[in-house]
Amino acid sequence: MGKLIGEAVRRVEDRRFITGKATYTDDIKLPGMTYAYIVRSPYAHARIQQIDTSRAQAAPGVIAVFTGEDVKDVNGLPCGWQVNFRNGDTMKEPKHPLLVADKVRHVGDNVAMIVAESREQAKDAAELLDIEYEVLDAVTDPAKAIEEGAPLVHEDVPRNICFDWEIGDKAKTDKAFADADHVVSLEFRNQRLVPNAIEPRSAIGVYDAARDKYTLYTSSQNPHLIRLLLCAFVLGIPEHKVRVVSPDVGGGFGSKIFHYAEEALVTWAARQVGRPIKWTAERSESFVTDAHGRDHVTRAEMAFDKKGKIVGLRVSTVANMGAYLSTFAPAIPTYLHGTLLQGVYDTPAIYCEITAVFTHTTPVDAYRGAGRPEATYLLERLVDTGARELGMDPAEIRRINFIPPFDGVKQPGYQTQVALQYDSGNYEATLNRALEIIGYHQLRHEQEEARKQGRYLGIGFSTYIEACGIAPSAVVGALGARAGLYESSVVRVQPTGKVTVYTGSHAHGQGHETTFAQIVADTLGVPLEDVEVVHGDTEAVPFGMGTYGSRSLAVGGSALRKGLDKVIEKGTKIAAHLLEAAEEDLEFADGEWTVKGTDKKITFGEVALAAYVPHNFPEGMEPGLEFSTFYDPANFTFPFGTHIAVVEVDPETGKVTLKRYVAVDDVGTVINPLIVDGQVHGGIAQGIGQALLEEAVYDENGELLASSFLEYAIPRADDLVSFEVDRTVTPCPHNPLGVKGAGETGTIASTAAVVNAVIDALAPLGIKDLQMPLTPQRVWQAIQQVQAS
């Protein structure tokens, strides 16, 4: 055993992707297929006075036109996480209709669906749909939305407040601040982002009347979750009569977790129309309908003693929910942000309050990192600001504040001030390694030399923690989750000893077909080619929760590993019977059972065959070699690390150039380093995108100004450098693989590292703070401002 785990195995799924043979949802063409186009609101807030469908109905190729009237008896989209007000009242949860009948609440809100013989005809007919709107005042800024007299998004939600929430010890924290030697504070917006997976969302609804059976193909990260929400909450159709397939999915980053109206609409309408219906977003639709990320308005303060020890943290955030609650929206600023404010620091007093607010904007939900980048950003900015004001080195101030190492076995887990218990950590080790790679002292020296020549080099740190694989179900249920957070697997050993495994987790770029196969091959001692990993089809795989929150390996991989253990256990019994030996005398290694101390052995394939041709079989044992497993972890996992960015800023133009980027992450045990590095690279790029380029800006009227790739810049190849990536390994003590999760670390860490680097570069000019994204214009203006004052 152990030959493949830890190896950079080349991905087995790649062949179809590099030869143009992958199957994304929009690639599927079914007999009799029709095409849907969604007519969307051009206004942020307007009353629909009247819709006249007659001209659209009569347009060439049009099969049906559906409006809010047609779906008024269909439920709206449900929210999957309930957070209560501080006073115990339940959060405000207004209906999120599939098609709006009365009032549109954001640009892009769904108003009608046109089904036609072709996409073009459906789109052409949309031009002929006569809709009369009465345009109303809108509010997009969450801080303004809570002001008295602001336009209301939902009439029955006073001051647009969805809920307020708090965590930590307020009195203790206030006292810590009162007694502190030094306090730093920052006010900023963690700006709104658009996820922009390169594959636009797509859904195909099919209804087979003869079998009374629905099929939904959808670009989703979690087909079972979609099926459950669709059946039990929205359409009220029997779950066993619905199959949801998420075939190849072109990236998600959170945006494809959620249940969207189009999925329900094509499924519902396929029955009305009697033919399959395909809908695929155009990018301009993705911009206004894929759930956005971040959008926090925050005031954060950190208190220090004379020596630079952090003695308190106080955070107050207004979190924008958008116009409706998306599937997991309430959990993001609370349980994925407020609970992460301990960071990697031994801060003794923390208090955080959140006000979640509706505005006339696209709903906001989890986007890569989801709450944790916001937590890391404010912590890392505050720590750096503290270092600067106290005249300390940013590496040193971190070092003296780190939680000391603990492995979660010999030393217990670390109990934070904000509810979580960290599993294992050695934070300083990642800092040391990162400093070594970057050559810190030399680099500071270069920085000094550069400054003498009028060049502005900056070095920025981010020492972060992340929480992955949130669990166990009972705990998250108590916190308001309306779903379990376990994962499932089926291990099916075929009679010839080949192995098919089915996972409830889903891959859309993460390479499960390889990583999971490595686990199977190593554990059972079979060649990698003998393993097939199946995911993404509710008809094939057991009920599973899908992929988000970097949970696949920690939760799904562990479910698989537990299933494999059951195979070995039963296999051992069969082998003992066939070898006429006692179970205790057998040893399983490299795909063979051997009677210890003898050369008597039997192979995995022989045992598999015996299990299905049980002519000579242990008495009373069921034939077959197949196990289904559900794994509910004992705790979250907590990866961590240190990232260092080096930038140069041109004060004449404000342009920031990334020079180097070092990432030392600890994601626990690594199954496939190639894939883990890839996840880290991609994550870093997305975080850098937030730091330097990306912002979904709304104007006063609620128009999304950055609504295409022409106005919304995501990182391109020449914006970035090659990253210097390394890691330390602190295994997770509570899952059978020791893994923690690697999908979001890069994004969580990199935004703060880059912004800290830019501020470090410009510190000699008197710059103390900058608002993201650090576009040349914004940096230049900030420089002008400090020079003028």
């Binding site: 030869t19 994304y24 390169i198 990236g251 190849a717």
Partner: protein, 156 residues
């Protein structure tokens, strides 16, 4: 009013009548069923639709099908020969140059054009050449390495 066109795609000749407004990418995907060419945007920005037309990398969402009349096209499906991967495909596999794979066909086609013009590009040149192709998954790190791998292999 449909217009007859004749195009060679991956060595095969196709004759079809198409609407004058049909995009080339729609022709490839919907008419020929060659779904290896992808659509990622509606502003000619992302490069997911990149193919080779008469040896030049073009964004097939910016051209009409009728503009390809008489042209020779190469798409993702035509790059491997007799089951043997092209060095660029092999590079993307060896160096983990793809994750979700959605940008990959366009990336590979753009890389193909680059290596035709510059057999040994340095990192900067690779990054500049791929500037019109977006990838949201890889951070481009391994895409650069994939192209370097291919260049080395082709030059050997």
């Amino acid at each position: 009013m449909e217009i007859p066109i004749k195009v060679t795609v991956n060595g095969e000749v196709y004759e079809h009548r198409v609407e004058p407004r049909m995009l080339l990418v729609t022709f490839l995907r919907e008419v020929l069923g060659l779904t290896g060419t992808h659509v990622g945007c509606d502003t000619s920005s992302c490069g997911a639709c990149t193919i080779l037309m008469d040896g030049k990398a073009v964004k097939s969402c910016t051209l009409l099908a009728v503009q390809a009349d008489g042209a020779e096209l190469l798409t993702m499906e035509g790059l491997a020969r007799n089951g043997e991967l092209h060095p660029i495909q092999e590079g993307f596999w060896r160096e983990h140059g793809l994750q979700c794979g959605f940008c990959t066909p366009g990336m590979i086609m753009a890389a193909y054009q680059l290596l035709e013009e510059n057999a040994s590009p340095d990192e900067k040149e690779i990054r500049r050449a791929l500037e019109g192709n977006y990838c949201r998954c890889t951070g481009y790190h391994n895409i650069v390495k994939s192209v370097q791998y291919a260049a080395k292999k082709i030059n050997r």
